[in-house]
């Protein structure tokens, strides 16, 4: 039985750091939801087609948009009442770029000393763990939240951190995974739901993450 209860994969046809415009596939629990979609409109289209009714989405930075969309697709696929979890569900996410997309956008507002007007709405997103907060607040998940920056998508490190997070005895489930973003059109997401039965199965979990990420 899989240790990963549900997953969503949003991945480009080219590597995230290739710098070239790319199209994206969206796969949910093994089913292709979207294929060859243009990068710059995909997230907004997914929001309008599958979520809606949360205008705060448009104020989010690119990392939060990618992670929010993934979490909504994932949780809708799970189909359980989100409010039931409380402290028993946490959110632990990973990436390599931290909040780079928003950092760059914010930097642009303060680059020129002559015309420097720092943007508060960009500044508040210059930390990647704002995404874990967005997901936790939206869904009333009151368990552990964390955002870990790694040099690369390292399935062993991720599995280790996930297992360690469950050492909190009250935690039953985690929304977890990789949410990386370089810009509005460069992102790479593998988001999962993992439960306590992952404890003691770190290697298997690592293998499953690696398989889904490739």
């Amino acid at each position: 039985m899989s240790l990963i209860k549900h997953y969503v994969r949003i991945s480009g046809q080219q590597p995230i750091d290739s710098g070239h415009p790319t199209t994206y596939n969206v796969c949910l629990d093994g089913q292709m939801l979207v294929s060859n979609a243009p990068a710059d409109t995909l997230l907004a289209d997914l929001y309008k087609g599958h979520i809606g009714d949360y205008p705060k989405f448009y104020k989010m930075d690119p990392l939060c948009k990618a992670g929010f969309i993934a979490s909504e697709l994932l949780l809708n696929a799970e189909g359980r009442r989100r409010e039931q979890w409380g402290e028993s569900r946490g959110v632990v996410l990973f990436n390599a770029a931290s909040s780079l997309a928003d950092d760059r956008n914010y930097q642009a507002t303060i680059d020129d000393p002559e015309t420097s007007f720092p943007s508060p709405s960009l500044f508040v997103y210059t930390l990647p763990n704002v995404l874990t907060g967005e997901i936790a607040i939206r869904n009333h998940f009151y368990g552990e939240t964390n955002f870990i920056v790694l040099p690369t998508l390292d399935s062993e490190a991720m599995a280790s951190a996930i297992e360690m997070t469950f050492s909190d005895g009250s935690l039953q489930s985690l929304v977890t995974g990789w949410v990386d973003c370089y810009s509005e059109s460069q992102y790479d997401v593998l988001m999962l739901i993992v439960e306590r039965d992952a404890i003691g199965h770190r290697d298997e979990l690592s293998d499953e993450i690696k398989r889904l990420a490739n």
Partner: protein, 85 residues
Amino acid sequence: MEELILKLKNEIIEVLNLEDIKPEDIDENAPLFGEGLALDSIDALELIVLMEKNYGIKIKDPNEGKDIFKSVAVMADYISKNRTK
């Protein structure tokens, strides 16, 4: 004043990322916070930046914002009396 109100509505839509909202959807006399557009504290900070950037008005005390940002009409009136740009 109508021209300034329309300009202000467009600027608010742009800086606050109010997707799918057009100027004609905004009642210039409706509250900006709490109800109406239901803006939040970060939006308030963006409006303070907008006032300085576009109109040369520095709001030194954020508490002043409660009165200035009551509605688009009140904002426009304040801008017309205090702008330096």
